[in-house]
Symmetry: C2
Subunit: 333 residues, 2 copies
């Protein structure tokens, strides 16, 4: 529904992590990203060609995707100038921000005048049910994190890619704007009304073949006080058979919460499993997925070996070293 | 803002529990309820005088309050006839259902024609922040339940009444439609967008005097897969100093989930406390509040004594026997 390929708008991203939407598209659908558009002061860089709107248009880009997330999701006046110019240049706009393109009168007016489309992928377009907790056929895997933004989506995408390479039945089930922009559908869970969160995940992961895996994109963390409720709805609506623990070893405090330390992997394991077994008594913690982007290869290998010994579980960085170990663990249950 | 007194509309409630909104108003603001309106097949009864619309009008009622909750919250055609007639009779309408009065074209048209108001108390009217987890001054108490609808709101209201009688500083903080209809303000938590749930509770319970108690209305249960995410947002946004465990001893399975057993009070204590200490390391479980409505007085007394011995905590039914024990426990921390 969203026309490809994209020009990825990074705005004035304060750091690389703020551009994780664009990074995700770039990593998982590189053919869809012809270039990046950065404003003065932008601290993110995807390594794509920096393009003006006209250059990107000439290179074939059809949609300007806002690939940067602000805290609170506001569309600033500085951004607005670029967005208006993009519409006038003949781009559609796509966004996963809480602040909607459709709520900006100037964007709506320019889009109407130019005949371009505004896509707000964060807006739920389905009337989700209240969760009924009924056991569903098929298998489900969920990554749960010690913190937000530790690699849960990448873990699910990497597992999906590996399962498909092995001829296994698998579907990546997006629950956030990046995943939705990558695959074209999913549940924008953080924008779902509270009472329907768990039901939206039941809807997203319906009955399936007994040997089919739903790879559900994780969100937040049980230990992140801003978003923990979203995480628990995902655990109970998803009724996973398998949990994968996700962690970023160099994080010094919970993202956005300077006073909050990260939990240990052991605490995450015990808390997640106890809660997951409310919905699925057979749930198991099968592996650990580590995001080692900030570590050298030697450091990463050492950390993985140490963690594997300590936790008694398969451990890897699926983005750096492949998802083989994780898929082996899932195939074994 | 909602004009009192009320005529309480019970519709075709399938059981007494479905009328808990009306029951709450009736129990905590009896002066506001002049009578009840029941349709054919209604299985709920508040013990109020059954009135026609004309009789209620003559008795002084100003607003027809929809005091019954359906699963999914739909406004049926059978109800619609009564609601239209009520507007024509000169009543305002107030509702806490997910389906909004304002989304029903016929009600909107009749309200406009008659000059009456439609109040949807479930709709958030504030742009809530994302939770920042900052420690706030003042004390906070939250009731957490083994299940939904076990008496968490009553517990908070009863504690508030007892604290005020003792001259303590206390505020009841509603998080659901009944509480909002009782007090006139609060956060309709189950209708808040997922990302802002915890932030809405921080907003509801701001910095206060060191000896002031916020008595936060609980919602759902960590063990109820349909609503557990809402409960966890309440625990992390509320950062309670004190938890009170709420339980209804005769419940045979989780409400609405026939395949799900209730957790033990010990499981509730351990899970709630571990999660609450993420936001407030000093949090304590101070007491147990039991809803003994379905038990004889002898049974209730025996159950309370047995539970007190087993849990090593003060236990009572605050609605039946008063909230003194609970307030004693809170005053001691």
């Amino acid at each position: 529904m969203i026309e490809t390929p994209y020009l990825l708008f990074l705005g004035d991203a304060p750091d690389q992590l703020a551009a994780k939407v664009a990074q995700g598209i770039c990593d998982w659908r590189p053919d869809n990203a012809v270039g990046q558009f950065r404003m003065d002061g932008c601290k993110a860089d995807l390594g794509l060609t920096d393009m003006t709107l006209a250059e990107a248009k000439a290179a074939g880009a059809r949609t300007l995707v806002i690939g940067v997330a602000n805290r609170g999701g506001v569309i600033s006046q500085a951004w607005k100038k670029v967005l208006v110019a993009a519409l006038e240049e003949g781009f559609d706009l796509a966004s996963g921000l809480h602040s909607l393109l459709r709520d900006e009168p100037d964007l709506v007016a320019v889009a109407a005048a130019t005949g371009q489309s505004l896509h707000d992928v964060r807006v739920p377009e389905v009337k989700y049910p209240i969760a009924d907790g009924r056991k569903r056929r098929g298998k489900r895997c969920l990554a749960v994190g010690t913190d937000c933004s530790v690699g849960k989506m990448y873990t699910a995408l990497a597992i999906g890619r590996e399962m498909q390479a092995r001829g296994m039945k698998a579907s990546f089930r997006p629950t956030g704007q990046t995943g939705i922009l990558i695959t074209g559908d999913g549940v924008p869970l953080d924008a779902v009304v509270a009472d329907f969160m768990a039901g939206s995940i039941e809807w997203l992961t319906p009955d399936n073949d007994p040997d089919h895996w739903d790879l559900i994109e994780g969100q937040g963390s049980l230990f992140h006080v801003s978003y923990s409720g979203v995480t628990l709805a995902l655990i109970h609506g998803g009724q996973p058979d398998a949990l994968i623990l996700s962690h970023e070893p160099t994080r010094t405090h919970m993202r956005g919460l300077p006073g909050y330390a990260l939990p240990s992997l052991e605490d995450l394991r015990d808390m997640s499993l106890a809660l997951a077994r409310v919905a699925n008594p057979d749930c198991q913690v099968v592996a650990v997925s580590v995001n080692t982007k900030a570590m050298s290869e030697d450091e990463a290998i050492a950390y993985i070996a140490e963690t594997e010994a300590r936790m008694g579980l398969p451990v890897t960085d699926p983005f750096r070293f492949g998802a083989g170990k994780l898929v082996d663990a899932l195939a074994a249950i």
